[in-house]
Subunit: 359 residues, 2 copies
């Protein structure tokens, strides 16, 4: 997913000319602005920041107000991390894997291909040391970060032709950003970066052969079902991706303790809410898509296995050359192995049985 | 699970003699007492209420304080719902399936055997109409309830002998309360209700043959590994059980909006935290148990299938005779079928692959 490239580009220029934020801090009041990387047309993603703002308002009896701006309104969608770090705005809502060009280690904040599922990622952040491991990395950018949403496992995207094996990926032009795209490029895919508003027509014209986005609830709005017949799962590169709240470190340090507590608890609640929204809305959207003729497919086993091997090789290479990636990768790997071992015993054991019974 | 029967019984008499709570409400301050159904010796469960209290204190700058009492200190562990409903105390922390003697429909608040997993249950509560469906039921008891914790899928418990098929359940004396016990009784098990402090010796003496509790992190503390060799999974009767916060409805109505918001957001955060604690602590505990000689087993397929059928029959019968159960069962069933269908497509598809790869 990388939802808002057109708006991101449109907003990039604006970001540099934004004035210092108007902050009314009389009588203990705080006014912040939040720049989202997401457009209002993707409401589950966009509303997570609004849910945060509404709760913080309630919790502080209106003494702490956060005004939420959609991608491109005051900051370009891909400039959110820079704008928050520079203090142009106090906070932002974004997906950290947009910024792996700065340091690949940032990907751990979102989650890695073939990494933790959503529940495991939340456990890592809250109790597995994830937040603490990531804090020094974000500190380099002048940011304190918190989880603010999770989409659950995404879909593998829209394909104009069936994928029956790794060979079918050769030369396939697919719109997929980030590390997922880098891994697929090792399997023959030619990853494309295309502005959001141009993807539909690129797919329609055959300029590209495939596109990954989020899942049924979001994808349906973009209309890909009209120009690509095959909808693949699972989105192994976005298997439990976190969306994050960035706060400028000086703005954070200046907050009173009760306002800090408001941010932390409201972010946790908003994270649960986003996941619950995707979990309850995806199936109905998928049923409509299938009703409109979409063919649902799972990636073939050999594609999954080749991608898994390519991902592991990628991580080992990155860890060898990037000390910051290695610093997080090693404890993350131990955590992943440990929690997956537990999930195999009870959680997944139950889930597999319960989900394969005929009622 | 039903952790505290001895304390519950010990506290039952005390509950009736507790004086009206000392509430200091000068200058907008609120002081509440919370009765837990859990002992301090089960810290992940017990601390969820303390995490709530600490956050509410922070969020309100000390104007709203909740004092947490362990099971039996002021109210017996199984009297929490009654004590909150009667207004003897303002709030409590308990597992609602303790109270299915009042109405079987209360079981939906915790979760049913072969029902939703933890993430699906949270989705049902937050976005699937669960909380709204349950509110009228709790209103009959004078209570407004919120999720305040979830254990994740539990273990199937400790057995002195191996279970190789349904026939091995015949006449088996097992400490298991609630609907799970009723379902197992249809398969030949003789469910037992035994005070927590007496379970260990009952198992050691062979008065009972098996016991279910929670999972490795909690079970290890109770020492069952010393008197039962086989540890089974999964705990299909507690496949994603919610722990709940009960608030007396008059006490709730009297709260200012910012205090209500503090309760709601802090409960959500504490729910995530409990799940994250179990998810990160269970494997290390299980490894220690296996190191001490415990034999890990999965229930045989025919046991799982017979239990699944028995559970479905139980629900249909209960829905036929109990209008309140039916009122919730029907939309719950639709939600379960819908969300399980979605999980099969992306979430579980990914999980099964990721958890079966050799790294």
């Amino acid at each position: 997913m990388a939802f808002t490239r057109r708006r991101m580009l449109a907003g990039a220029a604006a970001a540099t000319t934004v004035a210092a934020p108007a902050v009314a801090q009389q009588s203990g009041e705080v006014r912040w602005r939040l720049a989202s990387s997401f457009p209002k047309s993707l409401p589950i993603l966009f509303n997570a920041a609004e849910n945060l703002a509404r709760r913080v308002d309630q919790l502080t009896k209106g003494r702490f107000k956060i005004q939420v701006f959609a991608a491109g309104e005051i900051v370009g969608g891909l400039q959110v991390l820079d704008a928050v770090g520079a203090g142009t705005i106090e906070c932002g809502h974004s997906a950290t894997f947009y910024y792996t060009g700065k340091d690949k280690a940032l990907a751990f904040d979102t989650g890695l291909p073939f990494g933790l599922n959503s529940r495991q990622h939340i456990a890592w952040m809250m109790q597995g040391g994830g937040l603490e491991l990531l804090r020094p990395l974000f500190a380099r950018f002048g940011i304190v970060q918190f989880p603010l949403g999770n989409t659950g496992c995404q879909m593998g995207g829209w394909f104009r032709k069936e994928i029956n094996g790794v060979a079918d990926l050769s030369g396939l032009k697919m719109r997929i950003p980030g590390i997922g795209g880098e891994i697929l490029s090792r399997m023959g895919v030619v990853p494309q970066t295309i502005a959001a508003g141009d993807i539909y027509s690129a797919l329609e014209r055959g300029t590209i052969d495939a596109v990954e986005w989020v899942g049924p609830a979001d994808d349906e709005r973009l209309g890909f079902q009209k120009v690509a017949r095959y909808y693949y799962s699972p989105g192994w590169w976005d298997c439990g991706p976190q969306i994050s709240l960035y706060i400028n470190d000086k703005a954070w340090a200046a907050l009173p303790d009760d306002f800090k507590a408001a941010i932390e608890t409201a972010s946790a609640e908003s994270t649960m809410l986003m996941l619950a929204q995707y979990d309850t809305q995806n199936m109905a959207a998928l049923r409509r898509l299938v009703g409109a003729g979409v063919q649902l497919r799972s990636f073939p086993r050999d594609v999954m296995e080749a991608a898994f091997k390519a991902a592991d090789a990628y991580y080992r290479e990155e860890a060898a050359r990037n000390a910051e990636f290695r610093r997080i990768y090693e404890p993350w790997t131990r955590f992943r192995d440990e929690i997956q071992q537990w999930f195999r015993i009870a959680e997944l054991n139950y889930d597999v049985f319960a989900h394969t019974q005929k009622r």
